[in-house]
């Protein structure tokens, strides 16, 4: 009898996560996988596919730095490609999102939903800590396939926006047990409509941790539209505080 009981306990242990985590802890750990702990820059290449064929490509450089007070990232996004957009800059500083066009030398305040670059909203390309913008609830454990069709045991979380700067009203999030690797996310508008499906893939050793090197975004409204974001040239870089003032935007030079 004891042996049966002991075998059952072992079987149970194999089906439970290694350690009990709160939803907030899980989301925060996944944020640390996606985002390095120091200021950094990354050159992101956004490739758009329409009906299965590569259509367009945009390239941006993102400079990100965490605000020590709010623990949310501030971002400066510089457009590099295509030539018609080169030199444009977007700035996220706390609750303010600004867009600067060197052609008009005008800085315009924009909302997170505003589309500025292909199929992606500006909020899709910014570096953010979900734990700051969303409150999560653990729905359960699920085994899903990642973008390479490998099975992953995941926490399935439901996250509700608690901040005005959150691009989406609600997010479903799948995070792998133990590794805390984000595997998949679904983004919903405040109307409840599913807007985007995102897969993280290409985990590589970068800046001291295994991090995704790519994201695949499927437009849930028109599923023929798919965007891949390659996170290239990821490196630590100090970002001066003055860069997060809109009056500095005309001064930012390409590096």
């Amino acid at each position: 009898m004891f042996r049966a009981w002991f075998a059952a306990v072992l079987l149970l242990a194999g089906t439970l996560p290694a350690a009990a985590q709160t939803p907030r802890e899980i989301i925060a750990a996944a944020d640390r996988v996606r985002n390095p702990g120091q200021p950094f820059r990354t050159t992101n290449t956004l490739t758009e596919y329409v009906g299965g064929k590569q259509k367009d490509q945009d390239q941006i450089v993102v400079y990100a730095k965490e605000d020590p007070a709010t623990h949310q990232f501030r971002n400066v996004v510089r457009y590099v490609e295509p030539p018609r957009d080169a030199g444009k800059i977007a700035l996220l500083d706390g609750k303010s999102l600004w867009f600067y066009d060197p052609a008009s030398k005008a800085s315009v305040r924009i909302s997170p939903q505003q589309r500025l670059i292909g199929q992606a909203s500006i909020g899709d390309v910014l570096t953010v800590n979900f734990v700051v913008d969303y409150a999560g609830t653990l729905l359960g454990n699920e085994t899903i396939s990642d973008a390479e069709r490998q099975k992953r045991d995941c926490w399935h979380l439901d996250m509700k926006a608690v901040s005005d700067t959150a691009t989406y009203d609600r997010v479903e999030y799948w995070i792998e047990h133990d590794s805390f690797h984000p595997i998949k996310a679904k983004f919903y508008a405040d109307s409840g409509r599913l807007m985007k499906i995102l897969y993280y893939r290409g985990y590589q050793e970068r800046l001291g941790a295994l991090r995704p090197s790519e994201a695949v975004i499927i437009d849930a409204v028109d599923s023929t539209l798919v965007t891949t974001i390659s996170f290239g040239d990821l490196r630590f870089q100090d970002v001066p505080e003055t860069w997060f003032q809109r009056d500095t935007l005309p001064r930012l030079r390409a590096e």
Binding site: A8, Y49, V80, P82, K95, R115, D164, S230, R251
Partner: protein, 464 residues
């Protein structure tokens, strides 16, 4: 043995769920996206150069309530231009910036080739020095832009006379091709705000308004931007998360204005904004007639063609609006503009009845139209109350198609101008586009009395 089976339902209940339905999303990822994409060549940083040809046609209004003095607007124009924006780092915090447009143009009313065929616009040419973190000193011709609204910027004090020859009525596009002002500028930016001080000296005398027939070829047109001493002081500070108002103080000649800008985020899709400026100044009619007499456009001894408010008093300018982005990614801007110095309904009535009051005195029509041309040259609304709406839709219907529509309506008489623009990005370097505009309103209304009733333009752009 029976104890083992007692545990079995519990173990089965807490097994992870195999979310087979979630995996069907993977089928939406195209095969082409499974491998590394074909990389595009990166644009040269610090440069934005393109070649554009724009062919436009104008449809005249058949009868006008007030005849338009010569020269008449061109019925067609073709303009080929090279637009350049470049910057060079010289080291030690020094940067040189150049921005300009070189035009070749042909019109029905300009001999080709002739002096009028070639025109170069020097928009910016300045040196910038950063002696310390957050501190910049600039010297040269600089385009200083202020304001947060889309349709009208009362606090954009350096906008006056700076737009040379517009191809569109879209205020956003007009800002892309305007002359900078010769000035010395200092700016200090810190984590919580910024302060800017600029001084633009008077280097020439005021000149008459230009027409499309007397634009200089290579003259930098400093008379447009530096015909008076101008000073600007502006400061912004973050007072709360998401709230950073800007205050401005501007002085030109014998006129001082103050202004402020403020924006606020409303949820994930909307931005509210307000822009205000005010100062002791003359009304538009008074100011225009003074300028006309000063520059010889209106005979000095000619009587005013219509009565006007001669009081020099505090007058306000206001632009308040909202931008909203829908779930389908269309961004709307809706604004109300108030220009206290502008024409009231009574002023408009006087404008239309001037000829019948004064008789057919030579020069009356020219003086009347000069008032309107002056307002346009100053980038001011001509009426006191204007409504503005703009919609912008990227990837409209098909990928790479951008549609923009706007309308500006004189709220005093319901007349207005509407314009629709379509741009299709053929590739990373080619763009083809077009626009169509028309004015509407009664014969004796603001926009309904303009000589141009409609216009179309097609353009082809090659980014270099």
């Amino acid at each position: 043995m029976r104890a083992w089976f007692a545990f079995l339902p519990v173990m089965l209940a807490i097994q992870p769920v195999f979310a087979a339905n979630e995996d069907t999303d993977l089928d939406l990822i195209p095969q082409a996206a499974q491998t590394a994409p074909v990389a595009a060549p990166a644009a040269t940083p610090g440069q934005r150069n393109y070649l554009e040809d724009a062919l436009s046609f104008s449809i005249p209004r058949q009868t006008l309530a007030v005849p338009f003095p010569p020269p008449q607007p061109a019925s067609w124009e073709d303009r080929l231009f090279l637009d350049s924006r470049d910057e060079w780092r010289l080291g030690d915090g020094l940067t040189v910036t150049y921005s300009g447009r070189f035009n070749l143009r042909a019109e029905n009313d300009i001999p080709f080739p002739s002096h009028e065929t070639v025109r170069n616009e020097l928009r910016e040419a300045y040196v910038s020095w950063q002696p310390a973190a957050g501190l910049w000193l600039d010297l040269g011709r600089i385009n200083v832009k202020s304001g947060v609204a889309a349709g009208y910027n009362p606090t954009d004090f350096f906008r006056t006379r700076a737009v040379v020859e517009p191809l569109t009525v879209d205020p956003g596009v007009l800002r892309e091709d305007r002359l900078g002002t010769l000035m010395a500028l200092g700016q200090y930016v810190w984590a919580g705000g910024s302060i800017t001080a600029a001084f633009a000296p008077r280097v020439t005398l005021p000149t008459a308004l230009y027409t499309n027939l007397n634009l200089p070829s290579f003259d930098p047109m400093l008379d447009r931007t530096n015909a008076a001493d101008r000073m600007l002081l502006k400061a912004s500070a973050t007072v709360a998360d998401g709230l950073s108002p800007e205050l401005l103080l501007y002085h030109q000649g014998n006129q001082t204005e103050i202004g402020t800008n403020l924006t606020v985020g409303i949820g994930q899709s909307a931005i509210g904004y307000i822009e205000w400026a005010g100062g002791v100044q003359n009304g538009l009619i008074d100011e225009a007639l003074r300028y006309g007499r000063q520059t010889g456009s209106i005979p000095t001894r000619a009587p005013a063609p219509l009565p006007f408010d001669a009081d020099r008093m505090f007058r306000n300018d206001l632009s308040v609006g909202l931008s909203y982005t829908t779930a389908t990614k269309i961004t709307f801007n809706l604004e109300y503009h108030y220009h206290q110095a502008g024409l009231s309904p009574q002023d408009w009535n006087n404008w239309f009845t001037a000829a019948s009051r004064l008789g057919r005195i030579p020069g009356v029509d020219a003086a009347l139209w000069f008032i309107r041309a002056y307002a346009q040259d100053q980038q001011q609304p001509i009426s006191r109350h204007t409504g503005f709406v703009r919609a912008d839709w990227t990837n409209a219907f098909v990928t790479n198609l951008e549609l923009t529509a706007l309308a500006s309506v004189d709220l005093q008489d319901g007349s207005g101008v509407a314009q629709a623009t379509a741009d299709y990005f053929l590739s990373r370097v080619w763009t083809v586009g077009g626009l169509a505009s028309f004015t509407f309103g009664g014969r004796r209304s603001d926009f309904g009395s303009l000589p141009q009733s409609a216009g179309v333009l097609v353009r082809l752009v090659r980014y270099l």
